[in-house]
Symmetry: C2
Subunit: 534 residues, 2 copies
């Protein structure tokens, strides 16, 4: 081939960005309903206009291309619009977990160097508390002001000039103590949104219920995927089973995403009953358990398991059902569908690496760490090259999760990154809780592990060695943690005594997990306010 | 944003190429059926291996990265494998229309500078005739040899290093006389294949019937889209209604693409009867007519209209049905679904430009030329900068088709590029036929226009002014054309006499089209062998 053959006029290509899905929807589904949020409704033409005016409003408040804009809101239309309005200002969206404590929010606002915070009015007290200690607090736009101001702000549309540039930063507790900012690029979000629209078979007849928080990995890219398909976003300020069942029955919901814990609450709700229409449910954050899948199937929910991390734009693997599975006996079918599955259609590759650094065979037995690469992997951790390097194995991203691959190509996780506690779908890093505990003057050493819990899946249980002469009680220590980090991260129980350690001096966490299970099931009254997610 | 914030390690990104869909399918759908072609069957693991071995075989025959490899085959497994094996050798696929004449094939082989031709054994006589006159003819691998040789060739997998590089060149007659080579890049084919998989809702339960020739715009990207979805490719050496109906009934076909003419043959076949299962049909190349859509709907075929050109990787617009249309009266529903529609989910933008160079309003009345841009537009014409420039309006590609846009955002073509004749789904350029006619020593001037035909949609009709004293008959002129270009391009009728011209001396084609219609419906016997596609 002559060199000239490959010469391509640059203007032919358009940068990939998920914002383009809204631009298209506004053109081709102009009058179709886009958002339903209580009394608030808008069409796709209106959503596109609101997003552009949000961009103009941000610019009026001093936001410039490249600036970070934090979002502190439940799943309202403000949150959805921010997924378009912030990038339309050329800025970078930092969606905050609304369950974080004020100091945690302060840390992220400061670390991200946010210029502005978009906040739900109900969360202003929490935000004020978080910003109180900052030297140069960012500007704040509250949702009630926003709803008025957006109507008259001038529209703004900053074009994406590099699809590999920053779209959003999603802070995760990850596997070390401090939150790390996962950098999303436009290219990955575009492709993953497209993959989600494809795998979920959404179209203009779809009604998507916003049970999954948008502050979790940008809602697994569904703010963009639903729009790409021209479906309806049903916003939800608070996820309670009553409201969700009502929406499923009377609003024609066809699709939703939820952590297994949320599904369990739905399945166990007194109002649960089989639905007349098909609802597709995508669950992730933790593996769904067989009994749950059996129950949800009875209820007419067609549940599919997604696996992924914040670092992979949400879903990286999915348990795509194969036609022949339908003919299997129930238990064999369950054995297939609880697996983590296969890469999405835009997932480039997945490999399992053994302790020797070599790939393990696909025999359903050999354990290896899941490593991923491709366009659906983050650019790195924001302003944290050390953490980025630690998570990299050459071009591969190390998930920290151990799995086997079955001969049919489907992965199954055998043991997730062993120190992370998954409670109500939220990651709790044991290191973070341990570090908080050892901040207490009476505590010498602490080890935190997961204990089983029927509602939250797992809850943290602490094992604490006190300093000689210290007189600290269980309730005092739990309150101490709750005063410093999110309530749901506080230990449900604290057990005092010397920690069993390995030969290299590390706590023997496997043994502690067994003890935690025993402690939680023992008939000891639990302090009334300790440990419940809030 | 600090400059460092945007710094992204290059290794995170993977180049987009449709070949990756097969790599993934081989990993995740290894044992699933990939191809059924008469007695030939293979799984996705086998298809991936065969494609890599085809690449090795090509390399063994001297094909190097960047070389062009022609394909001359009907819709067999060879053609499908070439869509992967050729790029896996780093080479560029040039799929030839099997209905072209030997001189036309010779032109494309020479213009593309092909190093090798993969040919169906049945087409070797045509190929031999085409290559006979070439100074340095390319190597040839015939399909019967290939089927043996591919089993032992060493696997080869040349990685794509630039997604904007050449994947294939698709020659089209376009709107000028000589075929032009439309350059496809990996990026566009990847994205359009993904869009096709999404819009057609294919998955592992899908059975795709290869009625649309793969040599047409790489089969609208379906060689890659079906694989992305993990569906089954049902190859088809020859499209006849009997075979298609048998496949629809007994092979569980769920999806197919076909030109309206082919659909008409299916609908009119004595064996046509409503199907028990849903079949999705995508039609394009020419607009389907209302009566046809009504009839196919009765037969249980759910037909959707695709619009696009070779230059747009096949489908660029599609008439996506909206839920409310189902409630419309039949005629109103027909009025909606016959339209060309809206950009695909990866289509960046479409605009209608009036004669004054300004965009026309979306009022359903104002006519403008359809212009497209985005990742689903070709890089340009191969070694033809002049034609590339002529088809460009800045960053926009000029389709030459005139349409209106309705207030709901859907486009409808009112008048296609006026000189192109679409016969049996094939483009025939009037200029090319005119130029051939005027090669005859007796012909002074010729104008060719479309006349209506109940089977082929349109057929060419020639109006010829003879040189003084020339004594040439209708049959002689038709035979003359048939000896030089594809038979289906030859005029069905020739009318002699002076040509009516405009004030600037151009033939008045609108008037001629009216005359052509009159001539075709007049009870004059048509020469037995003239004009039928062959």
């Amino acid at each position: 081939m002559n060199a000239a053959d490959a010469t391509v006029p640059g203007h032919v290509f358009t940068e990939l960005t998920p914002v383009s899905f809204l631009r298209r929807a506004a053109a081709v589904f102009a009058e179709r309903p886009a958002v339903i949020d209580g009394e608030f409704r808008c069409t796709y033409a209106e959503l596109w206009e609101r997003a552009q005016r949000m961009a103009g409003l941000l610019a009026r408040h001093g936001v410039r291309p490249g600036d970070r804009v934090c979002l502190l809101a439940p799943n309202t239309h403000l949150a959805l619009e921010a997924h378009y309005g912030v990038p339309l200002a050329g800025a970078v969206l930092v969606a905050l977990n609304t369950r974080l404590s004020a100091p945690e929010i302060a840390y992220i606002v400061e670390h991200s160097g946010a210029r502005l915070v978009l906040a739900d009015t109900e969360l202003l007290p929490l935000l004020d508390q978080a910003l109180a200690g900052l030297g140069e607090p960012p500007a704040v736009i509250a949702s009630d002001h926003y709803d008025d101001a957006v109507l008259t702000a001038p529209p703004l549309c900053v074009e994406v000039t590099d699809e590999r540039g920053l779209l959003s930063v999603n802070y995760t507790s990850g596997t070390t103590g401090r939150p790390k900012g996962v950098m999303y690029h436009h290219r990955g979000a575009y492709l993953n949104a497209l993959a989600m629209a494809f795998h979920t078979t959404m179209d203009t007849t779809s009604h998507y219920l916003w049970t999954l928080p948008m502050f979790h990995t940008n809602g697994w890219c569904f703010p963009w995927a639903v729009t790409a398909a021209g479906g309806v976003h049903h916003c939800l300020r608070k996820v309670d089973p009553e409201t969700v069942w009502r929406a499923l029955r009377s609003e024609g919901i066809t699709h939703l995403c939820a952590a297994p814990t949320v599904l369990a609450m739905l399945a166990d709700h007194p109002g649960a009953a089989p639905l007349a229409h098909r609802v597709r449910v995508f669950t992730g954050g933790a593996p769904p358990w067989p009994a749950l899948l059996a129950r949800t199937t009875e209820l007419g929910l067609r549940v599919q398991h997604f696996y992924g991390l914040t670092e992979t734009f949400g879903c990286a693997l999915l348990c795509e059902p194969q036609p022949e599975w339908e003919d299997l006996p129930h238990d064999a079918w369950l054995g297939k569908v609880v697996r983590q599955g296969i890469p999405t259609v835009v997932g480039e590759a997945v490999r399992l690496v053994g302790r020797d650094g070599e790939q393990v065979p696909d025999d359903g037995v050999s354990l290896g760490e899941i490593e991923l690469r491709g366009n659906n992997v983050m650019s790195g951790y924001y302003r944290d090259d050390e953490a980025t390097a630690a998570a990299s194995d050459g071009p591969w991203f190390r998930t920290g999760d151990l799995a086997v691959r079955h001969p049919d190509g489907y992965l199954e996780i055998r043991d997730r990154a062993k120190d992370v506690i998954i409670s109500g779908g939220e990651n709790i890093t044991s290191v973070e809780v341990e570090n908080t505990l050892t901040d207490h003057p009476g505590v010498a050493q602490a080890a935190v592990v997961a204990g089983p819990h029927e509602v939250w899946g797992e809850v943290p249980v602490a094992f604490v060695a006190l300093r000689p002469g210290a007189g600290v009680g269980e309730r005092e220590l739990i309150d101490f943690v709750r005063s410093r980090i999110a309530h749901f991260k506080a230990p449900r129980r604290v057990v005092f005594g010397p920690l069993p350690t390995t030969s290299t001096g590390k706590p023997r966490k496997k043994l502690l997990r067994e003890r935690a299970a025993a402690v939680l099931t023992a008939p000891v009254p639990v302090p009334e306010h300790a440990g419940e997610p809030s």
